[in-house]
Symmetry: C2
Subunit: 220 residues, 2 copies
DNA sequence: GGGACCTTACTGACCTGTCAGTAAGTTGTC
DNA sequence: GACAACTTACTGACAGGTCAGTAAGGTCCC
């Protein structure tokens, strides 16, 4: 599942900002954006600091000056991605209840316009399950958090109708996250064959309908 | 989606088999199994021929003698995995109609007992979307084939009830494949938090119910 | 049945390339 | 002049792949 915004601690600049500071912040952003692109296209393992550095126009040692190691850079990229999503979708907090699911479909629609970003997320999340991967804990926590958010929203939606068993709520949350992620991979491999937004909406609506006994309006 | 068996062309041995031939076949199998384990645990990129060779008890050059290159080894591993699934589930042809979906849930139950195999599939399929990945075409073809199989089965199931739009059949097929794959990643990251078989069944049933208007029995 | 001859299954040394990371020097801003 | 933001130059590890050589198996001829 690409992209559900999450608050990111970005300490606001206080007082005067020197030109040097501003340049440094800009460089870090440049590097993060480049890294996101390279990691997306090539994966974390194959994507090298040298490639990233070339995009930015510096040497790979310059990147290590800003981010201590490749692993740290990866974690920062993941954090940055969350924040960027938040801004792009122009929301400052996640919607609740049924609105959350409409938001997810909107996100899928947005994602269909940016394969690079989707790819970075899809590749990294799957890569993270390998032994000792630097992003493993990050993704574990992220999925756990997402499941809670989705479960809350599902409980909301169901409250007015039949209330399903708690285990079904949890399972349905996992299924929605899972189908979004799985569809992204199929879509990345064959964008002609899979309509990301349409299939995502169909899947989410199927889960919602089955949980509420069809008593809920379709999101789109 | 891990594992839907597919017929693999394994030419039957004709006439007498020399000891050398038998040993060679056995070695190839040893290597394939070891490679599957290493690629699963470490990914294709991180998993090295030297690691695989150590498991088998030969040198990495020995592996390259049997398989011309690391890329070729990967493709053979994928082929081998398909074949092994077929045998393990003891089916010689895929079931049709509603039975196919019951089969998918059974597969999920089996998969829950073998994280290594699931991991190899999940990691490799996601890795394959990166630029110039040696398994990209293989996975593209595999997903396309799966979508056709699932779409056929869905049409079967729906035939006795309402017949949905053709695009919804295709989307539903993608969703089922996607949710199985996506759930595997969540499960690999946190096997306590996700019940692979239960969530898979819930997802599949939700899609089936939504497509047929709830007029179909649940699979389990 | 014994030996010549070929093939297969390797090993071990080596080559080339690439990588992350480090240390020391340079430049420009505050 | 102090410090941040670099570059240049390098190291050490490790990767996949090549190649010559070796040991053993199998085949065929006498």
């Amino acid at each position: 599942m690409t992209d559900v915004g999450e608050s990111v601690s970005n300490p606001p600049p206080i007082g005067k900002v020197s030109m040097r500071q501003r340049r440094s912040v800009q460089r870090r952003l440049d590097i993060l954006r480049a890294a996101m692109g390279i990691f997306g296209r090539r994966g974390y393992q194959r994507g090298s600091l040298i490639e990233i550095a070339e995009v930015v126009g510096i040497t790979h040692a310059g990147i290590l000056h800003h981010f201590g190691s490749k692993d740290e850079l990866l974690i920062e990229v993941l954090r940055y991605r969350d924040q960027a999503d938040f801004e792009e979708l122009d929301v400052d907090h996640l919607p609740e209840g049924l609105d959350l699911f409409a938001h997810l479909v909107r996100t899928a629609r947005l994602n269909a316009t940016r394969p690079g970003i989707v790819q970075s997320y899809a590749v990294l999340s799957a890569e993270s399950v390998t032994d000792d991967h630097p992003a493993q804990e990050w993704f574990r926590a992220r999925f756990a958090g997402l499941r809670v958010i989705l479960a809350d929203a599902l409980r909301d939606v169901c409250a007015e109708h039949v209330v399903p068993a708690e285990e079904d709520i949890g399972a349905a949350a996992s299924v929605i996250i899972g189908l979004m992620d799985g569809l992204q991979i199929q879509w990345l491999l064959d964008q002609e064959a899979v309509d990301l937004a349409y299939t995502t909406a169909l899947g989410i609506n199927a889960v919602l309908a089955s949980l509420t006994g069809g008593a809920v309006a379709k999101v789109e």
